[in-house]
């Protein structure tokens, strides 16, 4: 049974990798750290990280970060400077924490693609830092939700394909499990579903 589980995990991981490799422009967007240990009354910060830019840029984005509102509360959003300096009107920024379970954050750079290319490292960077507080101790997952209004833009305002990651929050002392077959499968489904929506929208 364990071998079967491992095989399924490998297959799903391959499918995810294949899906992600269909287009060279796919970038990764996830959280750092990807695993947080916290209990009721704790606060923690989570970076929203762009990876695998491979020479590309992020020129704008509008993201919904989804969390379990029965356990967590979003408390703050701090934007990184690599889409421009807000103090000198190089970037537009906005976030919304009013909906429990959702952090809506967006940046729109007013800089040229060239300026952004100079500004942003090839391997990726932090676009924002999210603050959370733990209301009830428990395990939960933080991820992204995409719809027609959520995009990540690249060169010439092109829509970037995204491989979205997640972060987990668990109580102190809880074992850190190996990726189970179900978790790997679920991640694969998330990516495929996202890419499917993107293809349908672009068509």
């Amino acid at each position: 049974m364990r071998k079967m589980t491992t095989l399924l995990a490998v297959l799903c991981g391959l499918s995810m990798a294949l899906a992600a490799s269909e287009e060279a422009q796919a970038i990764g967007i996830g959280f750092a750290p990807s695993s947080i240990t916290a209990s009721a009354g704790d606060s923690f910060f989570l970076d929203v990280v762009v990876t695998d830019l491979a020479g590309g840029i992020v020129s704008a984005y509008d993201l919904d970060v989804i969390y379990d509102a029965t356990l967590l509360s979003a408390t703050s959003v701090s934007f990184g400077p690599l889409l421009g300096d807000v103090g000198t009107f190089q970037v537009l920024e906005d976030f919304d924490l009013s909906t429990p379970g959702v952090v809506d954050l967006a940046q729109l750079s007013l800089l040229s693609d060239g300026a952004l290319a100079s500004l942003q490292p090839d391997d990726g960077f932090v676009i924002a830092s999210l603050g959370f507080s733990v209301g009830t101790t428990g395990s939960s997952t933080i991820g992204f939700s995409f719809d027609a209004f959520n995009d990540v833009k690249g060169v010439r305002a092109s829509v970037l394909d995204v491989v979205a990651g997640t972060a987990t929050v668990r109580p102190p002392g809880a074992p850190i499990p190996e990726p189970t077959a179900a978790a790997v499968f679920g991640a694969g489904i998330l990516v495929v579903s996202w890419r499917h929506r993107r293809d349908r929208r672009s068509s």
Binding site: F44, F45, D47, S59, A60, Y61, D62, S78, G80, P81, L82, G84, D85, T88, F89, Q90, L92, D94, A106, Q107, L108, S109, L110, L111, S112, D113, A115, A117, S118, L119, V126, S129, G131, A148, F149, N150, D151, K153, R156, A157, V159
Partner: protein, 626 residues
């Protein structure tokens, strides 16, 4: 009156006008100024009627409330008048104001002044011998006329013309067509007249004496009246009637006419076509009928609606025949028929208050407007109109009741008002423009070609010039658009002789825009191209900057208000950061007028401020995360 010129955005189509374009023009037509028969200052006269006591009246109407004075200074007559819109004011003029002798200068000029533009009709009535004329304001009078009245036929011989001077020390030179007393046919003679003085020449010789064709020139503007004391029309048919018309100067004559027969008449009407230049070719319904010398006329009887064309300016007059011509209740009158380039789009007319129980208005209108011409605010039924050949015009004989009436249409049209009684009649044109179309030597439409995106307004200018290349103001230029955006319109020229016509193309492709005045025309080309709606300029201030992108960013997550929502840069119906980024890339100023970053120092290709900012932000975040 020649009013200050304003440009018209709307136009006139004599032909091919689509109903939707009519609606467009109704909305867009401005009250373009043009020289016409309305005015605030008139010098008029009453040439001599047959015999007995004439009842002389002036009928005064106006589109707005007006007040003024009617006077005959030579006989000490002065009376004030006021005009209420929609009504007719009648001013009774003493019988002594009628010219009473031939070849004598008298002080019988009638001066009408008003504080607002009015229309003035003169009625000279003796039972069984009556006619009316449309008075022409002083500001459109000219210095050259050719008389058109009617001949003597040995029943009552009294072919005549009259002259009224509008300024002192006016020298009038007359070349009569027939020897009249001491005035020898073909030999010019001059008289000196002062303001308000009148002069008439009556020839009482036997058939076929006719002062028609007599040339009357002056060094200052004058008014000229043609007619006959009591004409029998045509020759051989008796029952005479006074005929009189105030004649338009030759500079306002035209080359294209559409005619409508008089109602009730069974055998047609008599028509005369008078030339102002030598070698004038005239055709009726496409058939050449005469080549005329200056001062010559062609006379014919037309039984149906007709089209009259000439290659040089002519004056066309319509005559009601003597009642014996077809034995119906009627009698002669003379009426000037305007060329269709001198039509107006609205008129206020009146019948005599008494004496004529049968009254009509003949209407000739662009066929496309049939059903849209209003009489007292009510459409004249389309069924009343009949097409006039292939002219693009249709004509109707419309009965009217006693009193004043208003007519209006979406496009210029022509009218003749007339009435019959037992052995009596009257008739006059309801009004006309009096631009100097006869002086027109060239019409040039510009630009010769242009390319514009669909959904935008495009204008062309038709410039009217005389033979010296001087502008001719007030001339109506008709425009017709053929191609992918068929349309029509008209505009009156301004002081520079420029008539501007604008329209909006909705279909991509090529249009040909033809401007025309009578027989003159010029065509230009317009190419309409597809173009997406203006995007990004959200605040409509003709640039794309931080404010616009901010507005889009603030609206992210909403649905576009429509296909032309400037915030929806990618046109996908929703507003998101993609739209904002698209617009940020096309900002009018670099970085959307934001403060530009300092130039890169070359260290890893990253600008120093960015490194500083990034490091500071990381320090801040790490402090906060601890």
């Amino acid at each position: 009156m020649r009013r200050p010129f304003r440009r018209s955005l709307a136009g006139f189509s004599a032909r091919w006008l689509a109903p939707q374009v009519v609606a467009l023009l109704l909305a867009a037509t401005s009250f373009a100024a043009q020289p016409d028969s309305k005015g605030t200052d008139f010098w008029l006269m009453f040439p001599q009627n047959y015999s007995g006591g004439s009842e002389l009246s002036l009928f005064i109407t106006g589109d707005v409330a007006a007040s003024g004075t009617a006077a005959v200074p030579g006989i000490g007559f002065t009376t004030p008048f006021s005009v209420v819109p929609g009504t007719v004011t009648t001013v009774v003029v003493p019988p002594g104001a009628q010219a009473s002798v031939s070849d004598v200068i008298q002080n019988l000029g009638i001066h009408v002044t008003s504080d607002q533009e009015v229309t003035v009709y003169g009625l000279n009535r003796i039972q069984y011998t009556t006619d009316a004329y449309l008075g022409l304001p002083t500001d459109i009078l000219g210095t050259e006329y050719i008389n058109q009245g009617y001949q003597n036929v040995n029943v009552v011989n009294g072919t005549l013309f009259g002259v009224v001077a509008t300024q002192d020390a006016t020298t009038v030179t007359i070349t009569p067509t027939v020897t009249t007393g001491a005035r020898v046919a073909g030999v010019p003679y001059s008289i000196l007249m002062n303001q308000g003085q009148t002069y008439q020449l009556i020839n009482g010789d036997s058939y076929p004496a006719d002062l028609s064709g007599s040339i009357i020139q002056s060094d200052k503007p004058i008014g000229v009246f043609g007619g006959h004391q009591c004409a029998n029309i045509p020759q051989g048919f008796v029952a005479c009637d006074h005929i009189v018309e105030q004649l338009p100067p030759t500079s306002t004559w035209g080359t294209a006419f559409v005619t409508e027969p008089l109602a009730t008449r069974l055998a047609g009407d008599t028509w005369r076509i008078l030339a102002s230049q030598d070698a004038t070719s005239v055709s009726i319904n496409g058939v050449p009928v005469a080549t005329l010398a200056r001062g010559q006329f062609h006379e014919t009887v037309l039984t149906g609606a007709s089209v009259i064309n000439s290659d040089k300016p002519v004056l066309v007059t319509q005559y009601s025949n003597s009642s014996s011509f077809d034995n119906v209740t009627s009698d002669p009158f003379e009426v000037v028929v305007p060329p269709f380039e001198q039509f107006l789009a609205s008129y206020t007319i009146t019948t005599p208050a008494t004496g004529f129980s049968t009254n009509f208005v003949n209407v000739v209108a662009p066929t496309a407007t049939v059903g849209s011409v209003l009489l007292d605010g009510i459409p004249i039924p389309a069924g009343s109109f009949s097409p006039i050949g292939a002219s693009g015009f249709s004509g109707a004989q419309v009965p009217i009741v006693l009193g004043n009436h208003s007519l209006s249409g979406p496009l210029p049209f022509g009218i003749t008002t007339y009435g019959f009684a037992d052995y009596d009649s009257y008739g006059y044109p309801g009004g006309l423009a009096l631009a100097e179309v006869a002086e027109l030597a060239s019409l040039v439409v510009t630009p010769e070609s242009a390319t514009n995106p669909v959904g935008t307004e495009h204008c062309v200018v038709g410039t009217t010039l005389d033979q010296n290349a001087d502008p001719l103001p007030g001339i109506r230029v008709d425009f017709e658009v053929t191609g992918v955006n068929p349309s029509s319109g008209f505009a009156f020229g301004d002081a520079a002789g420029e008539a501007t016509f604008c329209y909006t193309g909705t279909n991509p492709g090529t249009d040909t825009i033809t401007g025309s005045v009578g027989a003159l025309s010029d065509a230009v080309t317009k190419i309409w191209t597809e173009e997406a709606p203006e995007r990004c300029d959200v605040d409509g201030d003709a640039d794309i900057d931080y404010d616009d992108v901010s507005a889009i960013f603030a609206a992210r997550g909403s649905v576009a208000s429509g296909p032309d929502d400037p915030r929806d840069a990618d046109g996908n119906g929703i507003i998101n950061v993609n739209d904002g980024r698209i617009c940020a890339l096309v900002c009018t100023e670099e970085a959307c007028k934001s403060i530009s970053p300092p130039p890169a120092c070359g260290l890893f290709g990253i600008e120093p401020f960015a490194l500083v900012g990034w490091a500071a932000w990381r320090r801040r975040w790490r402090r906060g995360s601890r």
